[in-house]
């Protein structure tokens, strides 16, 4: 892994300088967002000082369980992810797409978009970084690009932080998305605490990232510091709370729409949609139209949606996926399976949020293992490679 960094700018800086880094980012006109402790959990919010970071906070995560814990040290980034993901700042939970105004018997449409400010994400975990890249693939590179997403994404600076601690529901190593940030960031930091010394080994992937590092007091990383950074990540990799056998997982799911396991999980799934709301790659949206009382003004809004609702698959007469089984199957099969057909990659980044936040304690890794049990490889339709049709 470290070999990849040969052409990257790599520096060491002491933990006190993290504020300088924050200042340098803010000084370039970015609104900074990062993790904070609030309401006994980790949330994402505006950040002006490193003192607002979850200093000394750890997390205890398991099926349907999330607890903050206190660490003995002053680590900034030793928590594992909370319910919120960065998706909310790129693919907003609610968005007004356009307005319509009554006019001369008909109506007019106003679709002027306000330009979003420059934003910087500090503390993006490798799994989350991969989630952002997955959203890029979905929302920017299909038959049409999502212009709202693009305008925000184009102005986003990413400071990733490698994981030194794995959470109880983490499985990024299984999905190949962590615990070290491999690419897609401006800056990536590894936080190291050795006795009394607390420092970061940082690498820049972009010019902007390198420029920021250049502006803060730093040194050239020693061999020992590089090794320490590798050890931090290796320790996280060795302590994953969950694993998934991802080999041929797409075929496994595509081949098994009638597996009895779907019936079992359906007895537990409450179709609440929590998993889709916390998932950093779930991108589905619905639209809703609101008018003022006089009907003079109408707004066409977009909201996050979940494939677990009945409305999601409603066509005149009824919902196509009326059973809990079919909706859970749709979600899991899409996330781990047919996402490959659609976007050439998995839709899961192994962050474990869906396991932590499922009120019924359903564990996707357990469900996938159960589907695989006694299920030898068989024939299934191949992934279709083709150019988009239509719009003729």
């Amino acid at each position: 892994m470290p070999g990849n960094d040969s052409n990257q700018r790599c520096v060491t800086f002491e933990s006190e300088q993290l504020q300088s880094l924050l200042d340098a980012v803010q000084g370039r006109g970015y609104e900074v967002f990062g993790p904070r402790v609030r309401d006994n959990t980790i949330v994402l919010d505006r950040l002006s000082s490193i003192t607002e970071l979850p200093i000394g906070a750890g997390t205890d995560q398991n099926n349907a369980r999330f607890r903050l814990t206190s660490r003995q040290d002053q680590a900034f980034f030793s928590y594992t992810v909370g319910a919120q993901s960065w998706k909310r700042y790129l693919h907003e939970p609610t968005l007004r797409l356009w307005n319509a105004q009554r006019d001369d018997g008909g109506f007019k449409v106003d679709a002027n978009q306000s330009l979003p400010p420059k934003q910087a994400f500090v503390g993006v975990r490798p799994c989350e970084l991969n989630a952002i890249l997955a959203l890029d693939r979905v929302l920017l590179h299909g038959v049409a690009a999502d212009s709202a997403y693009r305008s925000r994404r184009e102005k986003t600076l990413i400071v990733a932080v490698d994981c030194g601690v794995a959470g109880g529901t983490c499985f990024c190593t299984s999905m190949g998305t962590g615990p070290r940030a491999s690419s897609g960031y401006d800056l990536a930091l590894t936080e190291i605490i050795e006795g009394d010394r607390h420092y970061f080994v940082a690498r820049a992937e972009t010019e902007l990232g390198a420029e920021i590092l250049e502006g803060i007091p730093h040194s050239v990383p020693t061999e020992a510091e590089r090794t320490a950074a590798e050890n931090v990540v290796a320790s996280a990799a060795a302590h994953m709370g969950r694993t998934v056998d991802a080999a041929n997982i797409r075929d496994l799911l595509v081949r098994n729409p009638s597996h009895s396991r779907w019936d079992q999980v359906a007895t537990r799934c409450m179709t609440c949609g929590n998993c889709t709301m916390v998932c950093p790659t779930c991108f589905c949206t619905t639209t809703t139209d609101v008018t003022d009382l006089a009907g003079e003004h109408a707004e066409h809004c977009r909201l996050w949606d979940s494939c677990f609702t009945l409305d999601y698959s409603y066509i005149h007469g009824g919902a196509v996926r009326s059973s809990a089984k079919s909706r859970f199957r749709q979600w899991l099969t899409h996330k781990f399976g047919i996402w490959f057909d659609q976007f050439g990659q998995s839709g899961c980044v192994g962050c474990g949020r869906c396991i932590t936040w499922c009120p019924a304690g359903i564990d996707v890794t357990e469900e996938l293992a159960a589907l695989r049990e006694g299920n030898p490889p068989g024939n299934c339709p191949p992934i279709r490679k083709e150019t988009p049709r239509g719009n003729a």
Partner: protein
């Protein structure tokens, strides 16, 4: 890392999710719950070109957008013709529009019937209920270049005689010697002189060469399932059967996720699919 700003990206349908404004030129009642709207661009002379089988996202002020197939003649660029069944808030609002009323249109979107690809073959068009609407543009094209095709057969099933769409055109088509048209109803009224029975029973009797036939099918999913069985048992090859699928749809351009059908998105990979592409999905329930 930010992504690079893309400036050279060609404009695509749906790039902007705002609709273009259209005005109702005329509206005609087809059945007790279906209307055909002729709508024309408010700020342009011509509509975008469309291919038979494609659809538009049609916006009713304050009610929302719904996917509606285009039922007019693809050679006519002055108007979009939409045949709409009033089943929800938006479709009811659209059907309630008056002449000169305003509506929004985005599109056209989606795949199309293999009209050009069917040259030299017999073409069997099987429609159920409102499913005739997305097939009518294909029929216009087939008949406009009649000599390019072998036999052309239209099999149309509806619930009752009052549900028959486009009766005047059907009558005209029936009178043509180069087109075999059969209409059947599930429930007859006492004055009905035509066929009674489901549309699938017509497939056995229609005149076409199964080995050299393209079938275009649109109707309720169950109707398409049984139609497919009849076509296959008559010997039409699986890759000669094309089906138009329907799912919930919010954006029309593959971003909202709603219209997923197996590994595909109906809005961009469909609505018209060769059966072979969706065979495994087609057989799965609640997919």
């Amino acid at each position: 890392m930010a992504i690079a700003a893309e400036k050279s990206q060609p404009p695509l349908h749906g790039e902007s999710l705002a609709p273009a404004l259209y005005r109702v030129h005329s509206i005609r009642r087809e059945t007790h719950d279906s209307f055909t709207l002729d709508v024309r661009p408010q700020n342009a002379l011509n509509t975008p070109a469309f291919a038979p089988g494609q659809f538009n996202m049609v916006y009713a002020y304050g009610c929302g957008e719904v996917p509606i197939s285009i039922s007019g003649d693809p050679a006519d660029h002055r108007r979009f013709v939409h045949t709409i069944r009033a089943v929800g808030a938006a479709t009811t609002a659209l059907c309630g529009l008056k002449k000169n009323g305003t509506l929004g249109v985005r599109g056209p979107f989606g795949s199309h019937w293999p009209v050009d690809e069917s040259a030299g073959s017999d073409v069997v068009v099987v429609a159920g209920g409102i499913g005739l609407a997305p097939l009518r543009p294909a029929l216009y094209r087939l008949l406009a270049e009649r000599q390019r095709y072998g036999r052309i057969v239209l099999l149309y099933g509806v619930r009752t005689p009052g549900d028959i769409l486009f009766p005047r055109e059907l009558k005209q088509w029936r009178a043509q010697f180069d087109l075999e048209v059969h209409v059947t109803v599930d429930r007859a009224t006492s004055d009905w002189q035509g066929r009674v029975g489901v549309v699938t029973t017509l497939i056995r009797k229609a005149t076409f060469d199964p080995n050299n036939t393209v079938a275009m099918v649109c109707g309720p999913e169950v109707m398409m399932r049984f139609t497919l069985l009849e076509l296959l048992s008559r010997g039409v090859p699986a890759d000669g059967v094309f089906l138009s699928m329907e799912r919930n749809m919010k954006c029309g351009v593959g971003l909202c996720g709603h219209c997923q059908y197996g590994p595909t998105f109906i809005c961009k990979d469909g609505p018209v699919y060769p059966y072979t592409r969706i065979a495994s999905t087609f057989a799965t329930r609640e997919i």
